[in-house]
Amino acid sequence: MVDLDWRVESRADVSLVTLVVDNPTATPRRVRVANRLDGPVRPPRSEGVPESGWDDGGFEGVVPAGGTRPLGYASPAPPDEPPVELVWTERAGSTVSADSERERAVSEESPEGVVRALGDARPPADAVPTASPDVDPDSADTDSRRSP
């Protein structure tokens, strides 16, 4: 059956959870791994959006037949043991073959999938001029005196 190997360490009040989901069976299996720590899940992100499969409660995804799936997340909660549990596993459908995925630039047709695949287009924070309240009062004063 599917096996879950976990490790949790704490750094600067953040728990870092490292997982390996192992599927020794001959069929691909869809698994759900749920967070048991007393805090929100901080999933890995690409271009600012959570990686595919992650939600508020944990991760859901397919582990290939005879393969493993490494996972990891953080949580601003004290470390606890075990930090995660394998909630359920089921046989994964074989509709998504590796072949049909190969040539696709956007692997998941959702707004988040598009951002992950194509990249965040927003101007960098450093390029955005910030309002500087320390400089403005003077000029605002001048303006108010000038206006009738």
Binding site: E109, V114, A117, A121, V128
Partner: protein
């Protein structure tokens, strides 16, 4: 119906085609060029406010111009503050309220260009008649196909003389409509007007009608 006007390359006239096509299809034009909006707007909520969750997309649509428009802000701070993933719901809300929406896509191949293609039912590619502009058109077409916004037509913009439409048709696999270079189109665009309002019987106006008919035809087929 949601139509994305895309094209990869900047400066090929996506906004011009979007505005003129919007007029022909009696649609709301959404200026989704989040970093470099260029469809004229007055005061009031814009797409930056919508994407930042500060305004309702349907309420941000202006109906006072020659073409109904959901304008976009022009500040970097606004472009930074918005969440581009909200674009899908925003465009769909406008389509639900108004029927037809034409989305003016930004240049490039980043998420802000992909998002309109994700929500669109079909796409119109705008390409310049130069060979080097074709590579961008091909890349955008591939992305549009992948996101199920099949290519309805290609607008070959600002052509002169006899453009190679037959060759392009074979290369891109969609109807090609050549829009001749005409100063009246530019002058109308500066006023935020489609060319049909200033010269309804001009050649460009006729070609935009043809482009709209191609889009209608491909969607009903």
């Amino acid at each position: 119906m949601i139509l994305a006007v895309a094209g990869g390359k900047g400066g090929v006239g996506k906004s011009t085609v979007a505005l003129n096509l919007g007029a022909q299809l009696d649609a709301v034009v959404v200026d989704a060029d989040l970093g470099m909006a260029d469809l004229a707007a007055r005061r009031g909520p814009d797409l930056h406010d919508v994407l930042a969750g500060r305004a309702d997309p349907v309420e941000a649509v202006r109906e006072d111009g020659p073409v109904a428009l959901l304008p976009c802000g022009r500040t970097l701070a606004g472009a930074r503050a918005g969440d581009v993933t909200r674009l899908v719901d925003a465009v769909e809300s406008v389509a639900e309220a108004y029927g037809t929406v034409v989305v003016d896509c930004p240049a490039g191949m980043a998420a802000d260009a992909g998002m309109p293609l994700l929500t669109a039912d079909a796409s119109v590619l705008v390409a310049a008649p130069q060979a080097f502009a074709l590579a961008d058109a091909l890349r955008t077409r591939a992305l549009a196909r992948e996101l199920d916004a099949g290519l309805a037509a290609v607008a070959l913009n600002r052509t002169a003389g006899d453009p190679p439409t037959g060759k392009l048709r074979r290369a891109l696999g969609a109807p090609i409509v050549a829009i001749p270079d005409d100063d009246r189109v530019r002058r109308a665009q500066r006023q935020g007007c489609p060319v049909s309002t200033v010269a309804s019987e001009s050649e460009p106006a006729r070609r935009f009608r043809e482009l709209a008919a191609e889009v209608d035809g491909s969607l009903s087929a």
